[in-house]
């Protein structure tokens, strides 16, 4: 498949910011994740091709970072913090509530995450990397549903503003 014309121009722009092209690995992985909805084997290959690296090297970097999803996660990634400040403010309960609610959903992916640096809003969560909190289980479901229905606009699952830049 390789990069299309616009993707290639965008990728060239990104690489040009760095003294060495390999530094563009993370931004290019965000680019292919936004294109395909997750980091597909094709995406890994495209990044590798473009940077002159092997797919194994790119996959090795990619798999180290939690924001890259190596299998489909749907349209909304909901990251619920259960670290210490959220722990004592209902974070684990919020996570459990959402995990059950969306256990069979294909388009909402619930994940437990480490401290989101929003402890003054505990229990805190992110929906495609937009911050929310403090929230009850019901408030969180309501918010997710409003994103799902299109009433609220979510970022991409890489946290990129829709229609914006990587």
């Amino acid at each position: 498949m390789a990069f299309s014309g616009t993707e290639r121009r965008r990728a060239e722009e990104i690489v040009a910011r760095y003294p060495q092209s390999r530094s563009a690995t993370l931004p290019l992985l965000f680019l292919v994740q936004d294109r395909d909805g997750w980091v597909t084997p094709q995406g890994i290959e495209d990044v590798a091709d473009f940077l002159g690296l092997t797919p194994a090297v790119v996959l090795g970097t990619c798999s180290f970072y939690t924001m890259f999803k190596l299998s489909p996660v749907g349209k909304l990634v909901v990251s619920v913090c259960t670290n210490v400040s959220c722990l004592v403010n209902g974070g684990p309960q919020l996570h459990e509530h959402l995990r059950r609610e969306y256990a069979r959903s294909d388009d909402v992916f619930i994940e437990e995450v480490e401290c989101l640096a929003a402890c003054d809003r505990a229990p805190a969560l992110q929906i495609n990397y937009d911050f929310h909190g403090p929230l009850t289980g019901e408030q969180a479901v309501d918010l997710i549903e409003r994103h799902r229905s299109g009433e609220l606009t979510a970022r991409t699952i890489s946290g990129t503003a829709t229609g914006g830049e990587v």
């Binding site: 970072y65 400040s85 004592v88 640096a117 402890c119 946290g159």
Partner: protein
């Protein structure tokens, strides 16, 4: 009544609705006017002034900022400036706020610092999850380019600077300065053995300075008001102000910028409103998850980086204070921290990779009523393979400080709650045994 001393947080409070916008920052905060003064001083005088101010890094280690800059080998170019905005230390949320709400202050600090260390290429490594922060910081950088504060020949000074925002992708260890460099080079964020230190061989093996976002955001004010002004605030060798992120069971969680030297009590009870719901405090974490814990009896100690180390055997670290009330189970907090370290250990050093997950497993059984009376000693015994001697400030057998951090909370359990925990483990053990006996002999529910 305790009061804040806002320096880096002043403008965002004055203009809460638009402090991140170029026009507002220019009109009401005189953004970028400190550049002229910096260019007139010249690089060496800036390094000198920052040294005189006593400014120490606000990322965790508290190393002298001007001193760090002075370590760059003479005459070796190119050099790089990398600004650490990875902010992953549990309970720390100040750089998040500084990026979203005053990105121009950060960009101005970046320009002055790059000029002082004579770097023509600088990077801000921002935690990937800070999406709004990335939007606003990128906008600030674009505006600074558009108005000639970045790029070629800034303000007619002859100084060129390219400033690049680099988003992380989710991992705590990229916050370690050498992990950050690996990540910025497109690799797994694995820390590197020091020496060589980044000042000698950092990004792309070139001389590099790594500083925290709050440290860099302070620089414009030292240039504007002078080294004496900054050194005149604070206490002993902890000069100036710091932002403390206070959270947990407090009435008013939030970021408070105060002069160092204030007491924990003034900060936690005065500013953050104390423990909420009329409860009493059981313990608090004074400097981010990696710092050993303190008790209510330590509340009258000063916020002084050196005092925290020598007298309290902990650290002010990242400036994150987490407060826990009397209903809190210290074993639960400890287990959750252990789980964090087990997840975030990069796996490069055996003691940290293996130790962190064993600590998590043993704490899991302890917190769930399956512990044994000797479990606390078991934790200390394998912990001493990661931290020889187990005495804070910790010795290190690992490449980075994450390894020792895995033991901070365990050492704290031992130091403050040993009797309570051992008694509980004995009770749990006795209950398990008698239950088994009762169940087997009589089929009854004890």
């Amino acid at each position: 009544m305790a009061q804040e001393t806002p320096v880096v947080t002043r403008f965002m409070r004055e203009r809460p609705d638009d402090s991140w916008q170029f026009e507002s920052a220019r009109a009401y905060n005189a953004a970028y006017t400190r550049l002229e003064r910096a260019f007139a001083m010249g690089p060496e005088a800036i390094v000198e002034a920052v040294q005189q101010s006593g400014l120490r890094g606000k990322g965790g280690a508290g190393f002298g900022t001007g001193q760090k800059w002075s370590f760059l080998p003479k005459g070796v170019f190119p050099r790089y400036l990398c600004i650490n905005g990875d902010e992953g230390e549990p309970a720390t949320f100040k750089d998040h706020m500084l990026t979203e709400r005053d990105p121009h202050q950060l960009v101005e600090g970046a320009i002055i610092t790059a000029y002082a260390i004579q770097a023509n290429h600088a990077f801000i490594y921002l935690r990937g999850e800070f999406a709004l922060g990335a939007d606003r910081l990128q906008q600030a950088i674009d505006d600074a380019y558009a108005h000639g504060f970045l790029g070629k020949d800034i303000g007619g000074s002859g100084f060129d600077l390219e400033l690049v925002l680099h988003r992380g992708a989710g991992c705590y260890i990229a916050g370690d300065e050498t992990g950050l460099l690996s990540s910025l080079e497109g690799e797994r964020a694995m820390p590197r053995i020091k020496p060589p230190f980044p000042a000698a061989q950092g990004l792309y093996a070139a001389p590099t300075v790594v500083n925290n976002i709050e440290t860099i955001s302070t620089i414009p004010w030292i240039i504007a008001n002078g080294a004496e002004w900054y050194a005149g605030m604070g206490v002993n060798r902890s000069t100036g102000t710091r932002i403390f992120s206070v959270s947990g069971h407090v009435e008013r969680p939030g970021n408070y910028e105060v002069e160092l030297g204030m007491t924990f009590r003034e900060l936690i009870e005065g500013l953050a409103g104390g423990v909420r719901d009329g409860k009493r405090m059981k313990f608090f974490i004074p400097g981010g998850a990696s710092s050993p814990w303190l008790l209510p009896e330590h509340l009258d100690s000063p916020l002084d980086m050196d005092y925290a180390g020598s007298e309290l055997r902990t650290m002010l670290g990242s400036g994150a204070i987490t407060v826990f009330d009397e209903t809190t189970d210290p074993l639960l907090v400890s287990w959750r921290l252990a789980k964090f370290y087990a997840h975030e250990s990069c796996g490069k050093c055996t003691p940290c990779r293996e130790g962190s997950s064993w600590i998590e497993k043993v704490l899991y059984r302890m917190v769930n009523g399956q512990g044994r009376p000797e479990d606390l000693d078991l934790l200390l015994s394998f912990g001493s393979n990661i931290v020889p001697g187990l005495n804070a400030p910790f010795a290190q057998t690992t490449i980075c400080a994450l390894g020792p951090s895995t033991m901070s909370h365990v050492v704290s359990l031992d130091r403050w709650f040993r009797d309570e925990i051992v008694a509980r483990l004995e009770r749990d053990t006795a209950r398990r045994t008698s239950l088994e006996i009762v169940t087997v002999s009589a089929g009854a529910d004890a």
